[in-house]
Subunit: 317 residues, 2 copies
């Protein structure tokens, strides 16, 4: 690899392209710190993507890795009803990685930040034993509401904004070396942050929201704990996508376990009254019920389904 | 190590202690994102500290590693005339590291954030092959001025706010396994962000400032490039601390090379007219001249001194 400072210059050129249409950055990368436009309700989230933990270079192109890294970070802004403002990226570079690979990684980041408009504020580059991205996103929160996972109320239903388990099935397909299920693999490689769904939930004043990154079972447990309630899962197989059921049938897997334990779907998990959900469902036809919020009496999940456990991030061997 | 979520809870408890006196965090860590109080001039910087690149576990205690990680990140805020608001930390944890070590790391972070008041906004924890911290700091910029490294003017002097080379000498002592120079080693282990010096420079409207993290030679080169000028170094040995000269004599090292190439001093580098410097010097008696800003005619550094090169972060073997 060439000189670190040469690489930084090339990255800065790329970044200046993506930032041309953003007014968020008053002083762009290049100095000790960046200066942003005023933020009334600064919303901050961090995430990371590590080689052989979250991605594999033999499974994903550098563009795909960069794209997904940006999207999974922005997803937390969506789950907080915040509009993206600026993303910062710290890069850890192992020896032997080419400058081209790193620039392609930034192409992926830039693609995501064009789709979900957000400035790219630079970051830090250092050496390390594995390729790794640490991402830090800033957003502008809604003036109406900052949703919390602690706001679930007894008797409310627990809902998700869209299908679950597809990213896990895509990961499974990659692990098996399959090439005939590109649609499934795409769910793993190119998740989408549900800013569209968040807009609808915000309009209905839904106050208990989080994104599903670890898997429904684990994330529902977090929500139950924060809200001091218990959850009873109620998942109808009719809401499981055919593509998931077919894949599970082919390899004798449980679509319910995929739905509960599979992570990285980045759909939003929320609670509300049944009548409110009916109105939401009109605008979000893909949303469906996954459970009910009940009184806590010693157990957070009342019907722990199968051997479902939270998705542990490890795509390595 | 125990469960990741148990560790997160213990860290959140520690963080809540440090945050009790801060009004910056409206929604503290625990949800998908944190919500901060309004920022009129949000200043953002990122940094990282990686095992065997920036620190070694056999040289530094976990507290020292955490303390330094916070300080070197805050230093960029000082160099930008910003007051610290909130620090976020992403942690990469290798197998076999104890929970106690990680909690001690947070003790060090908390110590720094008590000394240089700043909230701790949480972050991300994931596994990896080496211990690593990625830090994101947010500050509130000054209403008077945002300093840039591109603001140096022809004819101005180039100055630093305090002694250079001491952290490099401390690192050298660690590499030699010395135990009889704790004062020098302390400069490497416990740098200080120069918020005090920044206040004085801001009052004098100094508009070209950066911190010295890579070493004077390298950082002056960045400043010269950004300002499209050239630098002639003029460093009087009388400004080199006795402790540095004595150490260099003992091991036949060049104190000038330590001053120029040694990094991690975190003093501020700035340019101004000689007459302005005289008034600054009264409040900052440790400040001194290191060069002059001249016209660029093909070379950024007019008298490349000795074999001095920028400090390369590698404390490993």
């Amino acid at each position: 690899m060439g000189n670190e400072f040469d690489l930084i210059k090339k990255i800065q050129q790329k970044i200046s392209g993506i930032n041309r249409n953003h007014s968020a950055l008053i002083v762009p990368p290049g100095d000790d710190a960046a200066l942003l436009s005023s933020l009334v309700r600064p919303v901050i989230t961090t995430d990371c993507q590590r080689q052989n933990v979250h991605f594999r270079l033999d499974w994903q192109s550098p563009e795909e890795i960069g794209f997904k890294a940006a999207v999974v970070t922005l997803s937390d802004l969506a789950a907080s009803y915040a509009q993206p403002v600026c993303l910062f990226v710290n890069l850890t570079i192992p020896e032997g990685i080419s400058e081209l690979t790193l620039l392609q990684l930034y192409d992926g980041l830039c693609e995501a930040l064009t789709l979900y408009p957000c400035a790219l504020g630079g970051g830090n580059i250092s050496s390390g034993s594995e390729l790794s991205l640490d991402l830090f996103a800033m957003g502008e929160g809604s003036s109406l509401l900052f949703p919390l996972r602690s706001k679930a109320l007894l008797g409310q239903g627990l809902y998700v904004t869209g299908p679950l388990g597809l990213a896990r099935a895509g990961l499974d397909a990659l692990e098996r070396g399959l090439t005939d299920v590109p649609d499934l693999i795409r769910f793993f490689k190119r998740p989408r942050p549900r800013f569209d769904a968040a807009d609808i939930l915000l309009k209905k004043h839904i106050s208990c929201v989080m994104d599903i990154s670890d898997g429904l079972a684990g994330d529902a447990h977090h929500l139950a704990e924060a809200s001091n309630i218990a959850i009873r899962f109620e998942i109808q197989t009719s809401f499981m996508p055919d593509i998931l059921k077919e894949y599970c049938q082919r390899f004798n897997l449980s679509p319910l376990e995929m739905t509960l334990a599979g992570g990285e779907d980045y759909e939003l998990l929320f609670t509300c009254e049944e009548s409110v959900f009916q109105t939401i469902n009109k605008d979000l036809p893909g949303a469906f019920k996954v459970g009910t919020c009940l009184e806590f009496q010693g157990t957070r999940i009342l019907n722990p389904p199968l051997s479902a456990h939270s998705f542990v991030h490890t795509v390595g061997d």
